[in-house]
C-alpha cells in the first residue's frame, strides 16, 4: 500500500488522543515519553509492520519491542486503533485486574510481543527474537524502541555489539531521542555524546529521522528494512510533543492531569491536525 502522509498523520493524531484517554482514566501517567512515541508508532503500525489482530502470534509477523516499557499507554492506544484490544480496554489502565498495566506485559495484553519495564533489557530480547526467526526461517522484522536515557543502561551496548557481530538485519533499533529522562535533561545527567558515532563504532548503520514527521519516519524505516547491515535509527523527538499541557511542562516524564486538561489536549490535537491537513491541501 502506498504511503499517504495525510492518512498516517491522521492516525498519529488518533493514537495521541487515545493515549491521553488511556492515561486520563487513571488520572496520571508517563505522558512525556508516550507523546514522543506516537508518530513513530503510527507509521510502524499503519505503514510498515505486518501484524494481524486475528492472528497475533503468527510466527512470520513483525514484532515491536517497546523497551521503554513505561510508555505502554502509547502502545496500548496503537493496539486499540489496530483492533488488538478495544478502546474501552484503554480506560482500565492500572486498575486492579486490568490487562493494561503501566508497563508492557505480553502475558496480559493481546498484541504485546515482549514484556518490558526494567530498562535496558528490550534490545537483548528483540535480538533473540530476530535470531530465533533467522534460525527457523520465519519472516518478519523486529522493531525495538529504546529511550535515549535508557541507552545509559550498559546491556544495550552488549546487545548492539552482538547484533552487529551476527549481522542481524531483521532487528531495527529505534531510539526515541527526546533528550529528557525522569530526573531532567539527558545531557545534564549523563551526556550521550554522539549517538551516531557510537552506533557506527559498534558496527551498526545509523540513520536519523525527524520523529514527528511521518514522512521522514516512513522513509527512514524503509531504508532500514532494505539495509544490508543492522540499523539504528535516531528519531529526533520532543518529550511531550503534541499534548499541550505536557509541552509547556519542562518536567513531563510523569504527570497527574484531569479530564479538563485531557479535553483541551484532544481538542488541540484535532485543531493542529486540521491546520496541517488544510495547509497541505493549500500547497
Amino acid at each position: 500500500m502506498k504511503f499517504c502522509e495525510k492518512a498516517t498523520k491522521t492516525v498519529s493524531a488518533e493514537i495521541r488522543k487515545l493515549t491521553i484517554t488511556c492515561m486520563e482514566s487513571a488520572g496520571y501517567g508517563h505522558i512525556g515519553g508516550s507523546m514522543s512515541l506516537c508518530d513513530m508508532l503510527a507509521v510502524l503500525y499503519n505503514d510498515i509492520m505486518v501484524v494481524d489482530p486475528k492472528n497475533p502470534k503468527d510466527k512470520d509477523r513483525d514484532y515491536l519491542v517497546l523497551s521503554k516499557g513505561h510508555c505502554g499507554p502509547a502502545l496500548y492506544a496503537t493496539l486499540a486503533y489496530k483492533g488488538f484490544i478495544t478502546k474501552e480496554d484503554l480506560k482500565t489502565l492500572n486498575k486492579g485486574g486490568t490487562k493494561l498495566p503501566s508497563h508492557c506485559d505480553r502475558v496480559k495484553t493481546n498484541g504485546i510481543d515482549i514484556s518490558t519495564g526494567s530498562l535496558g533489557q528490550g534490545l537483548s530480547m528483540a535480538s533473540g527474537v530476530a535470531m530465533g526467526k533467522r534460525l527457523q526461517g520465519f519472516k518478519g522484522t523486529v522493531y525495538c524502541i529504546v529511550g535515549d536515557g535508557e541507552l545509559q543502561e550498559g546491556q544495550n551496548w552488549e546487545a548492539i555489539q552482538h547484533i552487529a557481530h551476527n549481522c542481524l538485519t531483521n532487528v531495527v533499533l529505534i531510539v526515541d531521542n527526546n533528550k529528557r529522562q525522569l530526573d531532567g535533561y539527558v545531557d545534564d545527567i549523563c551526556k550521550q555524546f554522539s549517538l551516531k558515532d557510537k552506533f557506527n563504532s559498534f558496527g551498526l548503520e545509523a540513520y536519523e529521522a525527524d520523529g514527528h514527521n511521518v514522512k521522514s519516519i516512513y522513509e527512514t524505516l524503509i531504508k532500514a528494512r532494505n539495509s544490508q547491515k543492522p540499523v539504528a535509527i535516531i528519531m529526533q523527538t520532543e518529550k511531550g510533543f503534541g499534548c499541550n499541557f505536557a509541552e509547556i511542562n519542562g518536567f513531563n516524564h510523569y504527570m497527574v492531569f484531569n479530564s479538563e486538561q485531557a479535553d483541551s489536549a484532544r481538542a488541540e490535537i484535532d485543531r493542529r491536525l486540521r491546520n496541517h491537513l488544510e495547509n497541505t491541501r493549500a500547497k
Binding site: 533489557q121 530480547m125 534460525l135 552488549e158
Partner: protein, 320 residues
Amino acid sequence: MIKVKDIKLSELEMRGAYCDALIAVAEKNDKICAIDADVQFSMGTIPFYKKFPSRGINCGIMEAHAVGFSAGMSETGMIPFFHAFGTFATRRVFDQVFLSCAYQKLNVKIIGGDAGVTATANGGTHMPFEDVGIMRTIPNITIIEPADPAIYKTAVQYMADTHGVCYVRSCRRKVWQIYDENAKFEIGKANVLFKGKDVAIIACGIMVYEALKAREILEAEGISASVIDMHTIKPLDEKTILKFAKECSAMVVAENHNATSGLGSAVAEVLIENNPIPMERVAVFESFGEVGTQDFLQNKFKLTAEEIVLKAKKAISRKK
C-alpha cells in the same frame, strides 16, 4: 543397598555428561540450542557446537544480554540452554532471569557451573553459595542440583520436555557416581536412598555422598539414619519431607550452599508450618568463598560427613 566403599568416581566429568545429554535431546528436537558467555570450555559445551554449529551461539562476555537474548529466542519457539558459572548465571543476571524470562513465562534453561566449593581455585569471586537462594525467590522456577551424571541426564531431558525457566547448579569435574547410569528419576520427587528411624538426612549435589558416609558412621554407633537425595530444590517434595519428619522426628539438611536461603531454608519452611521437629543445617554460615582444593574447602566450611554426624546427634538430642 549402597555401600560407600563401592561408590566410584564417575567415568565422565559432569560437564561431559551434561553435554552428551544435551546433544542427545537436541538430536531429537531441533529447537534446542546452546547459548554461552565465553565459558564454553569450562562448561563443556564445545561438542554441542561441533555437532550443531548453527544452534550454538557464544555471545561473549555479556551474561545480561545472553539471558535476554535467550528469552527472545524462546519467544519464537527455540529452547535455549544458557551456560555460565553459577555466580554469573544467577546473581549477575538476576533481573534478566526474573523479568526477561520468568515474569513473561518464557522457556529458558539456565545452567550454572562450579557449584559452591567445587569452584576451587577460582575462589570467592566465582564460588556460588547464594545462587539457589537467589533463584528460589522467582515464582514457578524449577531448581535442580544433580548429585551425579545419572540425575543430570534426567534433568536435561526434563528441561527439554518442560516449558518454563529452570536453573541447574552443577559442578564440572568427576563426582562420586551414586546411581547406576541408567537409573530413572522424577524431577520434583526426592530420591530415598536409605530408610532409617532416628534421623533423616536430606542432601543434594556433592553432599549426597557425604550424607551416605555419615549414615554409615551413625550406623556404626547404633543410630539409624534415612538418606534422601533432594535433587529438586524447587518445587520441593514436601510430601517426602513430612513423611520422614514424622518417621524420624529429627532432620539434618546438608548443602554446598550458604545456610541462608538454600535447601535448608526451604525444608525449614515446610517443617515450621507442618511439623516443627528438631532440624539442623550443614551449610556455609556467613562466609564468602575462597581458593583451595575441594577437600580443603569442604573441611574449611564443614561440608563433611563428620559435620553431618555431629548435627544428626544434635538434632536427635533435641527431640522431646
